[in-house]
């Protein structure tokens, strides 16, 4: 995944989460929907954050097979 894609995906997820927070505070959406958004969004956010920091177009290698 390209660094830029990961960054924008991360920002998108973060914006959606904050939007859900605001909407939930103002009472527009029920609380469970806000929590559901977070359950789906938090893992994505963590991964995209990491991928943005260290995305690399490397070749895949075989797993570790011993010392």
């Amino acid at each position: 995944m390209k660094k830029k894609t990961a960054f924008w995906l991360m920002v998108t997820v973060a914006v959606i989460a904050v939007l859900a927070l605001i909407l939930s505070e103002t009472g527009t959406i029920p609380e469970w929907l806000y929590l559901a958004v977070l359950v789906a969004g938090f893992p994505l956010f963590v991964l995209f954050l990491g991928l943005w920091w260290m995305a690399r177009e490397g070749d895949a290698d075989i797993p570790f097979m011993g010392y």
């Binding site: 806000y34 789906a40 938090f42 995305a55 895949a60 075989i62 797993p63």
Partner: protein, 280 residues
């Protein structure tokens, strides 16, 4: 909820760091600084990342997402006072996550770790037993009802101490370096997480931080009841200290011994719950 979620993640990681430091000090080693686990998480995010050539890519990545997702869900269920059964379910399904981590990479070490995590199912049955003991007393499995019950009659810790011990053992079998941590014992390299490096491992560490926070909070909520926020954090710290003493002083059991001991504990707990159900 967002700030609390982030706080829980970092505080859980900090607790894991304290746990590690304490074990080291008990064993008279210097040990890493207490924020080592937080640094770990950040460090792994900066490491180079790829998917192994033999892995099943979709599963390899999504199992990390699922790991964080289920514990986020558990956290919310706990905080909003949902059903204790859901937390119980998520605890059990964490096994699937471990299994998925181990099997998705194609590495034999990962596979051993994954299979061991399925074998260690014996550690879950005490959890169910303690859940049913709680259900016998409070008549409900909603966490909000359990809190209300304890506000009236005092902590369940003193009413059903054996059930509390069962839950304590369940938490113990999930902390690193515990006598029951057969999924991470040293002869299988790093167990199920052998092939999840870089960003994937950072995700796993995030999940671990959140998981420790949720498990400790469950113990406190179910057996002690509502506490002020600082009180919760302090109690968690105390629990971690006691866990660290157990982990530092007990040897790591072999898979067979671990399952045997957990099965014996389960047997004792079943008898206890039957006794509670009949005479309680």
């Amino acid at each position: 909820m967002i700030p609390y979620l982030l706080f829980a993640t970092f505080f859980g990681l900090l607790l894991l760091g304290i746990h590690r430091k304490l074990i080291a000090r008990i064993q008279r080693r210097p040990g890493p600084p207490i924020w080592q686990e937080i640094l770990h998480t950040l460090k792994f995010s900066f490491k180079s990342t790829w998917i192994p050539a033999t892995a099943s890519e979709v599963l390899f990545v999504s199992v990390v997402l699922i790991a964080i997702g289920i514990w986020t869900a558990a956290f919310f269920v706990l905080v909003t006072g949902g059903s204790l059964l859901i937390i119980f379910a998520i605890y059990m399904l964490h096994k699937i996550v471990e299994h998925g981590f181990g099997l998705s990479s194609g590495s034999p070490y990962g596979k051993f770790g994954g299979v061991r995590s399925v074998i260690s199912a014996a550690s879950e049955i005490p959890l169910f037993v303690s859940v049913s003991a709680v259900a016998i007393f409070t008549g409900s499995l909603q966490i909000s009802d359990i809190i209300a019950y304890q506000a009236e009659t005092g902590p369940l810790l003193f009413t059903i101490p054996l059930a509390a011990i069962a839950l304590y053992l369940v938490i113990l079998s999930k902390v690193p370096a515990s006598p029951f941590a057969i999924v991470e014992s040293k002869e299988i390299v790093s167990g199920y997480k052998t092939e999840h490096f870089g960003v994937w491992r950072a995700g796993l560490e995030t999940c671990n931080g959140l998981k420790s926070y949720v498990l400790l909070l469950t113990f406190i909520t179910v057996f002690i009841g509502a506490l002020p926020f600082l009180g919760i954090l302090l109690t968690m710290l105390l629990l971690v200290v006691s866990l660290a003493f157990v982990c530092a002083l007990c040897p790591m059991l072999s898979p067979f011994d671990s399952v045997t001991i957990q099965t014996i504990i389960t047997g004792i707990m079943l008898i206890y719950v039957l006794y509670l159900g009949v005479f309680g």
